[in-house]
């Protein structure tokens, strides 16, 4: 069967294909989608073929210090958590660890997006300093997606694809689910009966 001369990429051996995929994934910091990876071969390989090769690559690296993972915007190589103690010896400056204020703000944006600064303050019960939002914007985890049509036109914040990538998530659905909280007051009032049942009972509490 003659090889289509315009589809030279199809002529690549499986080993070479794997080599090209591996090189591309090792060189790009941003995850690569399958659509992008197909461009490497002038779209001569099907999505299924690419995915099959990616699985093979994942297997190949299984026993190393790095792993091939699939996150929101595509596939990328990253180090395994067990390597972190070693890597930290090289760079004395620690990765940022965020304060509770930052993490709570992030959680509100992640679970209730899009939200305004006012919404965040309403939930936390304290004012949100501009520096908290700036920290999250600078990290590329949140951005402004619009303005609410109320006086002052406050900016609406939402989480970004980069946020999902950085947390190894493929979508917001993979966020830990919000938990139901135990009731706060021993109620003598039926309407207020927030889930009084203990968490170990089988019945899921309802609000």
């Amino acid at each position: 069967m003659p090889v289509n001369p315009h589809n030279e990429a199809t002529a690549l051996s499986p080993a070479r294909t794997l080599q090209v995929l591996e090189t591309a994934l090792l060189t790009t910091q941003e995850p690569l989608s399958v659509t992008e990876l197909r461009k490497l071969f002038d779209n001569a390989l099907s999505t299924a073929a690419i995915v099959k090769h990616l699985e093979e690559l994942r297997q190949k690296w299984r026993d190393s210090g790095i792993e091939l993972v699939s996150v929101a915007s595509g596939w990328r190589f990253q180090t395994k958590a067990e390597m972190q103690p070693y890597l930290e010896k090289l760079s004395p400056q620690k990765a940022p660890r965020y304060s509770r204020a930052v993490m709570e703000t992030l959680a509100i944006i992640a679970y209730h997006q899009p939200v305004t600064r006012g919404d965040i303050e309403e939930i936390r019960g304290v004012s949100v300093s501009g520096s908290i939002l700036k920290t999250l914007v600078a990290r590329g985890w949140i951005d402004e997606v619009g303005h609410r049509n109320v006086p002052g036109k406050p900016a609406l914040f939402a989480t970004t694809q980069h946020f999902l990538d950085d947390l190894n998530l493929r979508s917001l659905q993979e966020l830990p689910p919000l938990e139901e909280m135990k009731a706060l007051i021993e109620s003598d009032n039926k309407q207020l009966e927030l889930p009084l049942s203990e968490p170990d009972t089988s019945e899921p509490p309802t609000c």
């Binding site: 060189t27 390597m83 965020y98 936390r124 304290v126 007051i185």
Partner: protein, 272 residues
């Protein structure tokens, strides 16, 4: 037992840990002793957080809080907070006001015509907010437990040969030679341009010597010669030192015959 006792932090066992921070005393009410104020402000995110803690850990009934006394106490430390934490003080104050309002409304008979839940039980709105906050607080903790890029793992990115990262302009050594040739061609065409005649190697080592001197007022002559230097390199380094001395970029001194020779950065004292 005094309600607002201050426990000696050294002797005391923490009664609880909040985010790993030991909490050394049990607040019996919302009053925060002045000495513990800063710890408290660091420990709690705000009045909702504090109230939540009191209710969850101490089964505090929000209705049993002695409001009058509490208000008195709150005012004292709100005064103290005002200096640099005015906003936060205001939020605690607001919470106090809210609690007082709830309490006062609870004392009144329920309006039989009340339609909303909030009107039937003034606690409803506060409870809703507390639960919503608690849910987010938990979510934030779990979010923080997820593996996080940079903190828990690093993304692999190795260099693409021939192409600088982030699309910075690409330069290769031949570009440099071409640029130099262009300068020369132009200089020749224009006029008898003054271009200093220097051996590259001397120039290279002049930079190296200056770098070695950086941060020192003086350095021992022999330290400028790496142990691994070849004879040719030693000669060139020496020439570089002489050249730098000639250009007044460094000075050479020797206190006595056959003594240690010191090289001083010429501008070590004056330059910024």
């Amino acid at each position: 037992m005094s309600e607002n006792q201050v426990i000696d932090p050294v002797a005391a066992q923490p009664v609880a840990r909040i985010c790993g921070e030991p909490l050394l005393e049990i607040p019996q009410d919302l009053y925060i002793p002045p000495d513990a104020l800063e710890v408290f402000l660091d420990t709690f995110q705000g009045p909702l957080d504090l109230l939540l803690y009191l209710i969850r850990k101490h089964n505090l009934n929000i209705l049993d809080i002695p409001m009058a006394e509490l208000t008195q106490q709150y005012m004292t430390y709100v005064e103290m907070m005002r200096v640099d934490q005015l906003e936060l003080a205001a939020e605690y104050l607001l919470m106090t006001a809210l609690l007082i309002e709830i309490k006062s409304r609870m004392l009144l008979p329920v309006n039989p015509k009340a339609e909303t839940e909030d009107e039937r039980d003034p606690r409803a709105e506060l409870v809703r907010r507390l639960l919503e906050y608690e849910q987010i607080k938990k979510a934030a903790e779990r979010l923080n437990e997820l593996p996080q890029a940079e903190r828990d793992f690093s993304v692999i990115q190795i260099l693409i040969e021939q192409k600088a990262a982030a699309l910075l302009p690409d330069v290769n050594p031949d570009d440099l030679r071409n640029a130099w040739s262009a300068i020369l061609a132009r200089a020749k065409a224009n006029r008898h341009h003054q271009i200093k005649r220097e051996a590259l190697s001397v120039r290279v080592y002049m930079s190296q010597v200056l770098r070695d001197l950086r941060g020192h007022t003086q350095i021992e002559f022999f330290q400028l010669f790496p142990a691994s230097a070849t004879v040719a390199e030693v000669v060139v380094i020496f020439l570089a030192i002489l050249e730098l001395a000639k250009e007044l970029l460094l000075t050479v001194s020797q206190a006595q015959d056959s003594g240690v020779i010191f090289i001083h950065a010429a501008n070590a004292s004056q330059s910024a």
